[in-house]
């Protein structure tokens, strides 16, 4: 059984390539936001301000949630 490149090439269109590249970059961004969150948690364990810790973690969590939401939206809509 041979692989039919002509059938496969129908999928490789400009929007498809854009979507794949966008999702890949967004995936890297999600990893980056997770690293931010991890570093904040690590620094927070080293030195914590009771009043600020919650706000700081919440802000970094917002970044993660926004990135994941955009990723899922891109998978569905693009």
């Amino acid at each position: 059984m041979q692989f039919d490149f002509s059938t496969f090439s129908h999928f490789i269109t400009a929007p498809f390539l854009f979507k794949i590249s966008f999702l890949f970059v967004l995936f890297l961004y999600i990893i980056f936001t997770l690293i931010i969150f991890n570093q904040i948690r690590s620094m927070d364990q080293l030195i914590s301000e009771i009043h600020s810790s919650i706000i700081i973690r919440a802000i970094s969590l917002i970044g993660i949630v926004a990135a994941i939401s955009l990723f899922l939206a891109a998978v569905v809509i693009l």
Binding site: P15, S42, M43, E49, I50, G63
Partner: protein, 223 residues
Amino acid sequence: MPDLFVAQQQPQNKEVTAAPETLQTAPKVSATVLPTDHNPHLLTSFCENPDSVKFADAEPDEKILLFLRRHFITNIPWIFTTLLLLIAPLILAFVVRKFSIDLSFLPNHSVIFLTIFYYLLIFAYALVSFFTWFFNISLITQKRIVDIDFSDLVYKNVATTKLDLVQDASFSQIGVIRSVFDYGDVLIQTAGAMDNFDFKAVPKPERVIQIVESLIGKEENAV
């Protein structure tokens, strides 16, 4: 014959005799008994005797006397850059509309997604810049000095020294902006081959020096 020129009593004598007393009785800026307690908030850069700050390696009886960050004014460059980056897409949209640039070659919805992603990148930039400021902290306890350096998420350095090893403390406040907003660099020199501590752009450097010198027993040299 009456003396025409009688030397008046020099008030200096009083001062000379009074000087040691004033030195002895002058209210020492004892950093170990600071009068007020404070709770630093999110943007605090100078706080004496903070209650709500916990340090991981702190000993049970160790109390933080001074909590320092760089002055908030040092955040202005990245805040300004962020604001510029925030309005950049609006300018770009205006240019596209003004010159009727054709963007139809882009896939559907891609402009919206790219714009949102662009704003997420700016958010990340602002976040990293803020955390770089937020976690660059210097602490002075009644036992030691702690300097936490944190930069761009990848560099983290925690340096401590006991107060016994501190030899001298000095500060520099160069420039109009630093004088107006009262912040400067504090240099704490330690004995031997140990690294010196350099607190960059901290508020009220005079007060910092005063506290450090009171702790190491050099009140009389305090600024």
